[in-house]
Amino acid sequence: MKKTKVAFFDFSCCEGCQLQVANMGEALLDVLDLIEVVNFREVMSERSDDYDVAVVEGSITSPHGVERIKKIRSIAKVLIAYGSCATIGGVNGMKNNFELEDIRKYVYQDSAHHFHTIPTRAVHQVVPVDYFVHGCPVYIPEFVKVLKSALSGLPYRVPDDAVCTECKLNENVCMYEKGITCLGPITRAGCNSWCVNNGNICYGCRGMVTNPAQKGQKDILDRYQIPMEWIENKMNMYNKARENDLAEEKKNNEQKC
């Protein structure tokens, strides 16, 4: 059987999701029996412009990045957005909370003009994406599922219920019961409530469910007397770039009318 050629690319990110691949241990060798990795700059010097599947980590935050991702899209038959920075903008989106000029000057002072930057965008906000692997970092069991789907040409459905569903099954005490705000009720499941299992809160790294139980969430906030802005502020940590989707949606709706 001819092996599928897979290439890994990184844009603006911490490269932690790529590292998750190296963290698979000897199981990685089984994966390498099925695919031929032709690009993986973090661990390989080999390079090639001939690949079937592109796994893309990171957000698009520079004009150069826009050109690069377009080229990758034109070569790859299948494009997988890999990790929160790629799928929803992730923490890079927080930059969009500020005026670009202001934030550039804050970090680089007088030399700010050397550093070109554009508002953070998720990969699908620049080019079409075939598969999404959410999470900061990605949850390897889910990546393996997505990779299998991509290799066999089958669709992968990202879970669209809330993290709470998994959290309940894991028998965690609800953070709200402890008086602590948590984004579990409005965030996509699929991580097996990783953070809450370890005593922390959900930060919303997998993005918002498509149809959040708004009334239910409002009831929770009322019951525990939590101001809405706290939730919004927390959502802005990973989900700020969602505004680009909403703007696009609005534009499309206007065109329809």
Binding site: D10, F11, S12, C13, C14, E15, G16, C17, L19, A22, N23, M24, G25, E26, L28, L29, L32, F40, R41, E42, V43, M44, S45, E46, R47, H64, G65, V91, N92, M94, K95, N97, F98, D102, I103, R104, Y106, V107, Y108, Q109, S111, H114, F115, T117, C136, P137, M175, K178, G179, I180, T181, W194, C195, N197, N198, G199, N200, I226, W230, M237
Partner: protein, 441 residues
């Protein structure tokens, strides 16, 4: 024979992040020699403004996937110091254990997957799967075990979950301590094989003395988590005065700021730490250092990888010591903290400024935050080891290029790549960093 060399390595591989090496030699004269940092800036310091100090660790851990635990610990140290919180003894010891695991994990990755291919004459670990299957399996196994250790202690290695301002949200139970000990003993066995392999590897010859900078202390402990900032030139300052050390300046060709202290540049990292604190190494690690000929002052940059190996042995042995102490005393589960955004005011707040200085795998890392009395971040500054090293890397390149002009372009390129890689640079970390461009030689 007069020689022209033009090297232009775009997107240096087997390093974390994006950088270019540029070298231009015209008629034997070095006209240009630099390391361009082309990573898109991510503006972390700017983004932190207005966020809660209890979110700082979560956000800054995302600066780097490889040293996310190190960023976490530097961030927490700065945050706790800013709000005037003193962690418990148990918390401090657990943090030391976590830092050991990350150092070990990162060093293993660098030694086996990033450097060994150069020394064995291949382009990556992939061809080694066929030629050195046992070695690759051992590397991946060790990496996975380090990862499993972090899973137990903090939920995962990449972006740890339970290690926060105030302590840990979840503490290891007795059976988890046993599981960690079991993993460490297996790593210890693999480490012996690693040391045997390392003895067969030959590092390139090169000497350039520079200032070596890292944490120093007055105790017997090889400092990773706490201490003052010191150098092999005999200087020492409190961590709060780190700006006197880093003296960051911006150069046009790179998005990483450059640093210098008492000389034109300085080096941070495993070799710097070994040069500063050799006497405090675990006896087994010290014996290995002696066997590898690493006696301060070591001035061959390529030996940073050998120093990482020595530190790996130290981390395994010291982790076992720490774990044994925990097993003896037990872990007080009552110390687990649920903080969130401190909605319940579990941790008292005050306005202030705090600095964290932690030895992460690639060298000393600084975080500094200023917060208001509500715990909101007003100002933030992070100075990453690779940023501090870039200037020193360029000085190394300037010294080595004229010494190797008798080699072919390919050989020169490879040596320069190996030189840069020896620093184990973390470019996306320097958020503001690596490719080799030879222009003309």
């Amino acid at each position: 024979m007069s020689r022209n060399v033009k090297i232009n390595v775009e997107y240096l591989t087997r390093v974390e992040g994006h950088g270019n090496i540029v070298v231009n030699v015209k008629e034997n004269k070095l006209e240009d020699c630099r390391l361009d940092i082309v990573e898109s800036p991510r503006f972390f310091e700017g983004m932190l403004r207005g966020r809660s100090i209890f979110e700082a660790q979560h956000i800054t851990s995302r600066i780097c996937g490889i040293c996310s635990c190190g960023h976490t610990l530097a961030s927490i140290q700065a945050a706790e110091s800013a709000i005037g919180f003193t962690p418990s003894e148990q918390t401090t010891q657990l943090r030391k254990l976590l830092l050991h695991m990350e150092t070990l994990d990162s060093h293993i990755l660098h030694i086996y997957l990033l450097v060994a291919p150069d020394l064995l004459g291949v382009k990556s670990f992939v061809p080694l799967i066929n030629t050195h299957n046992e070695v690759v399996r051992r590397a991946l196994r060790m990496k996975k075990m380090c990862n499993d250790l972090c899973d137990i202690l903090v939920g995962r290695h990449v972006h740890p979950i339970s290690c926060i301002v105030g302590g840990f949200t979840k503490l290891p139970q007795e059976k988890e301590l046993d599981a960690m000990m079991d993993l460490l003993q297996k790593i210890q066995a693999d480490m012996e094989k690693t040391v045997e392999l390392a003895a067969t590897l030959k590092f390139p010859e090169f000497q350039r003395e520079t200032e070596y900078v890292g944490l120093v202390n007055d105790s017997d402990e090889y400092p990773f988590l706490m201490g003052d900032v010191g150098s092999t030139d005999g200087h020492r300052v409190k961590k709060e005065e780190y700006r006197r050390v880093t003296n960051e300046f911006i150069v046009p060709h790179s998005s990483a700021k450059h640093a210098k202290w008492n000389r034109s540049s300085y080096m941070a990292g495993a070799l710097a730490r070994l040069n500063l604190n050799y006497k405090k190494l675990h006896p087994k690690a010290k014996a290995l250092a002696d066997q590898l000929g690493l006696k301060p002052l070591v001035t061959n940059t390529f030996l940073n990888t050998a120093a990482q190996l020595v530190e790996s042995v130290h981390c395994v042995e010291d982790s076992i010591r720490l774990l044994n102490e925990f097993k003896e005393k037990g872990v007080d589960q009552k110390e687990a903290v649920s903080v969130g955004l401190n909605e319940k005011g579990v941790i008292p707040l005050k306005a202030g400024i705090g600095v964290g200085a932690v030895e992460v795998p690639r060298g000393i890392l600084f975080h500094e935050y200023e917060v208001d009395d509500k715990g909101k971040i007003i100002n933030a500054n992070c100075i990453i080891p690779t940023s501090q090293n870039v200037n020193n890397i360029e000085h190394d390149m300037k010294k080595i290029v004229p010494e190797i002009l008798d080699k072919t372009d390919e050989q020169i390129t490879l040596l320069l790549e190996m030189l840069v890689r020896a620093y184990d640079p973390c470019i996306s970390c320097s958020a503001h960093f690596l490719n080799v461009k030879f222009i003309n030689r």
